[in-house]
Assembly symmetry: C2
C-alpha cells in the first residue's frame, strides 16, 4: 500500500499547484464556499466589504475593498486565477472591463447580466421560448395601466430591472396612482418591468451547476416557501410535484445554463400555477438560498459544485442523500444571541444541522439556517422549524409546549 518512489522522480518540496479563486463579496454565500474550498485544497481570496463580514471571519486571504471601484477590482484580481461572486451587484461594465483585460470571471458578464437586469433576462427568455409571466417594460403610469388593461387588470407587479433582491424593488400595484408613486421613487435611469401577478399554487426552484466544459449537474427541484418576498423554507424534493413538471423545471434550468453560457450555480425561481404550468420568476447565478439544503442533504453541495464549475473541474453528484431534506432560515428575532440557542436545539435533536453566519442579530436579517433530513416529511419539517424558531426566539406557546 505504501507508495514507491522511483529514484528519477524528484518529489521533494513540490508545491501544491492549485489555482486561486477570488470571491467578490463576503456574505454568507462566500462563507459557505470556504467549507468545500478547504476540502478541495483550493485557496479562496476574498474582496470583502468589511474586515468583520461573514466570510472575512473565516477566510485567511481577505482584503477589504469597494467592488464598485474598478481600480480596486483590477488590483485585487491580479492575485487570483479566476473570479467568482457572492452577489450580483458588481456593475456589468466593470466585469466587461476586467474580462477585456484578461481576468477570467465565472460567470462572465454576458451570462451574469441576465441575473442583474430583469429587462435583459425577460427579453432573452422570450427569445428562448421559456415560459414567463406576461411582462412589459414600462416608463409611465399610463403604460402600467395599459399593461393591466391588456391582461386581467389590476393588480400588476412592478419590479426594478436592476438592484432588487429579497423582495426589495418589487411592488404590487392596484391603480395608476400607485404606479405613479412607485415611478417617482424609483432610482433615476433604472427601467421598470410590469408583470402579471401570477395566481400560483406554490413556488419552486431548479438549481443546477454548469461547468465551462458544458457539463451540468441538476439538483432535485425543490419547493420554496417565501415570506414577504424572502425565502423562508425549502423542501427537497418539492412534495408531490408531477414528474413531468419536475423534469420541465430541470430542463429549463439546463437550457438556460447552456444558452446563457452560465458557469457555476444557476438558480431558477419558478411559479407553479394553479392550472399546472411553471413560469420563470427570477434567475440567480451564484449559490442560492434554495440550494442551502444541499450542504447536508446532497452528495455534493451547491457550494462545492459552484467551485468545481468555476475551476472547470468535473461536477459532483447532485443526488439527495435522504428521502426528504428541509431547510429553514433563521431570521433575526427576539432572541438577542444565537449561540444561546444551542443547548436546547442540539440536545432536543442530535441530528439537526445548524449553520450560523457570524452576523449580528437584527430584525428580519438572515443570520443562519437549519437543515433536517429523514424519511417522514412532517417530522423533518417540524424538526427544522422548531430549531429555527428556537434560535429566533419566535416559538409560539403551543409550539413551545411541545419542546
Amino acid at each position: 500500500m505504501q507508495p514507491a518512489y522511483p529514484a528519477d522522480v524528484d518529489v521533494s518540496l513540490v508545491a501544491v499547484e492549485s489555482p486561486v479563486i477570488g470571491v467578490v463579496g463576503a456574505g454568507q454565500l462566500a462563507r459557505m464556499m470556504q467549507q468545500p474550498a478547504i476540502a478541495l485544497g483550493v485557496p479562496l481570496h476574498l474582496l470583502a466589504e468589511s474586515a468583520d463580514a461573514s466570510a472575512a471571519q473565516v477566510i485567511a486571504h481577505s482584503q477589504v475593498g469597494d467592488y464598485t471601484d474598478l481600480d480596486v477590482l483590477h488590483a485585487w484580481a491580479r492575485g487570483v486565477d479566476v473570479v467568482t461572486f457572492d452577489h450580483e451587484h458588481v456593475p456589468t461594465s466593470h466585469l466587461e472591463a476586467l474580462t477585456r483585460d484578461g481576468v477570467t470571471c465565472r460567470p462572465g458578464p454576458q451570462a451574469l447580466v441576465h441575473a442583474q437586469d430583469k429587462a435583459v433576462m425577460r427579453q432573452r427568455l422570450a427569445e428562448l421560448d421559456v415560459p414567463c409571466p406576461r411582462n412589459r417594460i414600462v416608463d409611465s403610469p399610463e403604460a402600467v395601466a395599459a399593461f393591466a388593461a391588456d391582461g386581467d387588470g389590476w393588480p400588476v407587479v412592478l419590479k426594478t430591472t436592476r438592484g432588487g433582491y429579497d423582495g426589495k424593488g418589487v411592488w404590487v400595484i392596484n391603480s395608476s396612482d400607485e404606479a405613479a408613486r412607485v415611478l417617482t421613487t424609483a432610482p433615476e435611469g433604472i427601467a421598470l418591468v410590469a408583470e402579471e401577478r401570477v395566481d400560483f399554487a406554490r413556488e419552486l426552484s431548479a438549481v443546477a451547476a454548469r461547468a465551462p466544459s458544458g457539463q451540468i449537474a441538476a439538483y432535485p427541484v425543490v419547493e420554496s416557501i417565501q415570506t414577504g418576498g424572502v425565502c423562508a423554507e425549502v423542501i427537497a424534493p418539492a412534495p408531490y410535484l408531477a414528474p413531468e413538471l419536475a423534469l420541465e423545471a430541470q430542463q429549463i434550468a439546463m437550457t438556460l445554463a447552456t444558452e446563457l453560457d452560465v458557469t457555476g450555480i444557476l438558480a431558477v425561481e419558478l411559479f407553479e400555477t394553479r392550472d399546472g404550468r411553471i413560469l420563470v420568476n427570477e434567475l440567480a447565478m451564484r449559490p442560492h438560498n434554495t440550494g442551502h439544503w444541499t450542504i447536508d442533504g446532497a452528495v455534493t453541495s451547491q457550494f462545492e459544485n459552484h467551485l468545481r464549475a468555476v475551476l472547470d473541474l468535473p461536477l459532483g453528484s447532485p443526488h439527495a442523500r435522504a428521502p426528504w431534506t428541509v431547510m429553514v432560515n433563521i431570521f433575526g428575532g427576539p432572541a438577542p444571541t444565537l449561540y444561546d440557542g444551542y443547548p436546547h436545539v442540539q440536545a432536543r435533536d442530535p441530528a439537526v444541522r445548524v449553520h450560523l453566519y457570524g452576523k449580528d442579530v437584527k430584525p428580519g436579517r438572515k443570520v443562519g439556517h437549519v437543515t433536517a433530513y429523514g424519511d417522514v416529511l412532517e417530522d423533518v419539517v417540524e424538526r427544522a422549524r422548531h430549531a429555527a424558531q428556537w434560535f429566533e426566539g419566535t416559538l409560539s406557546g403551543a409550539e413551545a409546549t411541545h419542546a
Copy 2:
C-alpha cells in the same frame, strides 16, 4: 413565519456572543475543524507552527508561535475562551501551568497525559481492568530479554513512552542485541515500554466524543488497515465484526472517556486477536485518522463533535449515513501535484469525496484522503482506493486498465 419583534426588546446591533476556541497546532486536523467551526459560527484562533501550515491557510485568526514556549502559549491563550489541540505534543507541564493560571484546556492535562505517555496509559488501563497487550517498563537489554522470557519469547515490541506517532518510536525487537541498539538511540530521559507482539487478525478503532457534561457519542467501530504503522484505510463499520466485540470496543471507549475525564474526541486503537479478543493498542485525544470517514459518512463529523464537546454543547448524532463508508489516505507519491488528479477522479466517480490538506507532496507524507460510501462494500473500497491511488500516481497497470 416572519418573526415579530416586541417593542421593548432592543435587538439592534447585538453581537453574536460565541466563545472563541484556540487550537494549538496547524496540521490537517485543525484544518478540518474549521469546516464545522464555520457552520457553528464559532471563531477558531490558531497557534501555528508556520504561516503556511495546513490549517493556517484556512483560518483567519492565525498566529505563528512555538507551543513548547510557555510564555508564547500564555500570551496566545489570553485571546481565547478554551484551548484544544491538533496534536499531543504540548508538554504536560505547560498544560498544567496554563490550567493553574485559569486557562481552560480541553482535554485537560490530567486526561491528555494518557495519550502523551504510554507508561501512564498502560498503568491506568491496568487499574481499570481494560484489556491490553502484556507490557512492562524496561530500562536495559536484560529487562527486555526478561520480559520476552516471561512470555512467548521474541519478538517483542518496544515503544518510547513519549513522542511517538505514526509508527515512529516503535520497534519490533528479536534479540537482546537489537534491544541494546534501540536503548542507546532512544532519547535521554524517556522510558521505554516493552509489549507482547499481538497475533492480531486486524486492527479496529473505537472513536467517541465526550462533553464535560458527561454526554458521550460513540461512533460505529471501524476497521483500520495500517501500513508501516500508519493508518492507510478505514472501513466503517468494521466488516463482519461480532456484535459483542463491537459493543465491548464501544464500551471500552466510553469507560476510558469517562474514567480519564476526556473532553473531545477519544480514539481507542485496538487489536482484534485471532482468538476473538480485543486489546487496547493506543489512545489519542483529538480527532483521529480513523474518524475521518465521519465527515462524509456520519450525521455529525468527529471534528464537529470535538468542537461541540470542547464548548460543552450537546453532541451530535454519531450514526452512519450509509451502509458502508471507506476512507483511504493519500500519501505523497510519484505524482508531483495533487490538483492534476481531479479531472480523472471526479469525472470517473461523481460521488467520491476528496479532502486535500494543502501540503506539499513529499514521499509517504499524508497529504489528503478520499471517502466513498454506498451499499456494496467491494464497490465502495474499489472507488476509494482508485481515487487515492490516482492522486498518488501509484495505480498499478492492472488497476489503471480499469480506469
